[in-house]
Amino acid sequence: MSTKHAIAAERFLADKEGSVWHNQSIGYARTKRDTMAKGIPEWEQLRKLSSEIKRHTVTHLDYYLEEFSKHAEANGVIVHWAKDANEHNDIVYDILQKHNVKKLVKSKSMLTEECRLNDFLFSKGIDVVETDLGERILQLMGIPPSHIVMPAIHIRREQVGKLFEEKLNTEKGNSDPTYLTRAARMHLRNEFMTADAGMTGGNFGVAATGDVVVCTNEGNADMSTSMPKLHIASIGIEKIIPNYDCLSVFVRLLARSATGQPTTTYTSHFRKARPGGEMHIVLVDNGRSDILGNAEHWETMKCLRCGACMNTCPVYRRSGGYSYTYFIPGPIGINLGMLRSPQQYSDNVSACSLCCSCDNVCPAKVNLSEQIYRWRQSLDSIGKADPMKKAMSKGMTYLFDHPLIYQKSLYLAPLINSMPRFMIYNGLNVWGKGRELPTFAKESFEQMWKKGKLK
């Protein structure tokens, strides 16, 4: 009966120490966000404005995409359009091949993760080096990210220490984060120096000017694009925003929501290629234009990919990114996964208690919990409803639509209170896995009322 998420989450929680630490670490990001939000008097106004700007922009997306590409091309940037992930990967490979690129350094991009770019380029003989520290750690470990902003949040320092001992020849037993970061700095410095091309994603594309805006704390996007002369920037089409007045709203919200910082260290605007270099932008659709046609779910296009929803989600914090079957976890991941393929990713829809906290932290006011509720309604019609829940719902409806039967059952229910434990607490009783059953009252409220005990 269990969804894949429920099964994986149980395994995750079996590591008591690790799961407690994961919950606290990510919870800390939420706490820092709160401090930032409370320090900006106009915070709720910013969120409202952000949502309205995004609603306007995505519902005029054709216009803004054309404006963006027109201005980028006027700056000498080469703009490509990719209908899907395969076309994106082909375009990128084509550019790299033309420039004889053997080594590509890249900054973090969930879009390239979505397109599985790295595996594709490896298969073509191109070395791809992730330069975000968290992503590089995961790349060296051969495992995927578990959070869209803090990808290695689930990895302990001792694991990184051991990894670097093996891959970077660091001191045995040294797992001090500063020491390990310095070692990564030296290692990645060498990669930047010897790379043939640099690739970034983009947090925003500004239609009025053709800028690609990349926000990092490490400076790795800037290092990736300051040494090799070829820059490829891949962005999902939903990243386009109208102008700088709008951008100022988003950059004030982004880092505060994502990591609880007033800003990322670097907010870099790429408008032109470097002298003697080339800059390419790949605009990627991969299902986004179809999402616009989904009346119940198009507002996911407002998402800034900040991760705040994951940081507040009590379920994500206690199950970890790997418990989700889609590469993006948490509330936004549940929704994006279902938009990608309801058949394939319905296991994540159980990962929500409908607490609505995500709605309140989302800087773009995506109605995440309402959308998850709506996906739940659709599961039965696509054959993915949980049989136990379906049976329980059917049973409850019957009972509740027949009040006399319901009341009769309440006469009998107190018998359960005195049944032997082995009869109640066994494999069939899922509630009983971690809880005692509540006690049925000897007399229901209605019975008392009917007997005149309350008048």
Binding site: N23, V315, C352, M388, M392, F400, W431, F440
Partner: protein, 245 residues
Amino acid sequence: MKIGLFVPCYVNALFPEVGVATYKLLKHLDVDVNYPLNQTCCGQPMANAGFEAKAVPLAERFEEMFKDYDYVVAPSASCAAFVKLNYPRLLKGKHFCLSDNKIMDVCEFLHDVLKVKSLPGKFSHKVSLHNSCHGVRELNLSSASELNIPSYSKIKDLLKLVEGITVYEPDHVDECCGFGGMFSVEEPAVSVRMGTDKINNHIATGAEYITGPDSSCLMHMQGIARRTDKEIKFIHVVEILAAGL
């Protein structure tokens, strides 16, 4: 002003004392309150599980049952929120929904409509307030911790009217306890961990009781507390407000 008392399904079956306390308190406050017979359920469990169509007959029943009342008061924030936010949609095309404008959680009713300024009872205990999710984020019973808005809590305002009480709030003041209706059995491991963490936060305040506006949350936490032999006690807010009646 005619008030209809709605006693949710699980309150009727498991915590009738909550319904009793609600009735007694409203009567004490001179409210013309009645309990129409044959009540069952608002439909929330089925809807949140993904079968909202199954809630439609229950919504129709509810509308019919309470059609002659000015307010419908329920000692359950989540049930009140469910009716308020979903019934108009569930009944669309069938008839014009009236219940969404009438339904109120009892704390909301006491605070906003009756504007209660004094209560007769005494409850000389330390309590930790459980801010149930739907109460906070859908009914605005208190300011959600995520938002930058002036801080308020209707439940705390009411509890402070009871003599002798000390009210605490836990860390992670409005984080979900993990019940979530059928979530509790579809994701039992996560649900129990969430509940355990929540109980521990409540216990850390030094309180003797955990109290809140939703028996479903209390039931879930109580189940965990009993299984793990934790001594903390559980009581619905309305039972405290009706103390001595």
